[in-house]
């Protein structure tokens, strides 16, 4: 739990590159996604066991 809180707050600084520092090799932190659309899934847990490509996007 502590590790997660630390991760969440440590990520607060945005550095020049899109993702810093590299997270490759790390476990994905707990994911909560609301209002899932274009899928029958109602929570991220229902993607358990899949190879997942998470794409962060914004409408602008």
């Amino acid at each position: 739990m502590i590790a997660q809180i630390l991760l969440a707050s440590a990520g607060a600084f945005a550095l020049p590159s899109n993702i810093t520092p590299s997270k490759v090799g790390d476990k994905l932190p707990t994911v909560v996604l609301e209002g899932l659309a274009q899928t029958e899934a109602t929570s991220y847990e229902e993607f358990t066991g899949r190879l997942v490509l998470l794409e962060f996007f914004a409408h602008w």
Partner: protein, 259 residues
């Protein structure tokens, strides 16, 4: 978007799920999705919690997460190749959980509740007349094995509290499984080791300090003082590195506050 639509279409049956994540409001997002003809799943990361946890500073940014939950690639979505997906798709479940219905629905229900024992039992029953039962059983066993290994790794680094709490939660759904014995043995080791017990007590105090909300600079200053006090006499330990990381994060949070 066309690139991601294509990947989603090409690899979905083999085990890939493409999920768009945004922390923007739904109105403009829905319009944008329609305009871009993005066909894959998407959801809302309210308040940008996940984005921050992953250190995403600019958009677009994407992560490939393998079936066990480990991040195996990060970068611009357009630079993700089919070869990389092929490399990591092995072992991914072909039918996502949300499509498990009928008898497979029972497996899913128990798994989502954290009851591995019942879920594995249901999978075994299903396997008698449906090959999917075996696939589901293998997936569940793989997840369980990796969760136990994760807890052991967490204990090994020195996060006694996380290992102990995690083991207690996981144990609840392992009635009659061999993994239950592994976790019970782990908890016993913790309870008999004076040093681990002392560390866990300190980690509980740290968790308590970190629970408090940081609203103003004053909160940050108070937290840093409390953390530095906790740090005394523990320099050089894993516990110290946890505190040091917390101090750094608190200082960063402070720079973002106006008063």
């Amino acid at each position: 978007m066309p690139h991601l639509n294509k990947l989603d279409e090409e690899f979905s049956e083999q085990g890939l799920s493409v999920i768009g994540v945004t922390s923007e409001p739904s109105g403009p997002t829905e319009k944008w999705i329609a305009k871009k003809k993005a066909a894959y799943a998407y959801g809302y990361d309210k308040g940008g919690k996940l984005k921050r946890a992953l250190g995403v500073g600019g958009i677009p940014a994407s992560f490939l997460v393998d079936p066990s939950g480990t991040i195996v690639w990060q970068g611009h979505p357009n630079s993700l190749s089919s070869n990389l997906i092929k490399e990591h798709i092995k072992g991914a479940i072909s039918k996502p959980l949300y499509e498990w219905s009928g008898k497979a629905g029972k497996i899913k229900k128990n798994f989502l509740k954290g009851d591995f024992a019942k879920a594995l039992d249901e999978a075994q029953k299903l396997a008698k007349n449906d090959p999917f039962g075996e696939e589901a059983g293998e997936l569940l066993q793989g997840i369980l094995t990796s969760r136990v290994a994760d807890l052991q790794a967490v204990l090994e680094v020195g996060d006694i509290l996380a290992a102990s709490d995690g083991a207690k939660v996981l144990l609840k759904g392992l009635k009659g499984l061999p993994e239950a014995d592994t976790l019970k043995a782990m908890l016993k080791v913790i309870s008999k080791d004076k040093e681990m017990k002392a560390t866990m007590k300190l980690q509980k105090r740290l968790a308590k300090i970190l629970e408090e909300d940081l609203r103003r600079r004053k909160d940050c200053d108070e937290r840093v003082v409390a953390l530095e006090k906790l740090l005394k006499g523990h320099r050089g330990t894993y516990f110290a590195s946890q505190i040091e990381a917390a101090i750094d994060a608190t200082r960063v949070a402070r720079t973002k506050m106006e008063y």
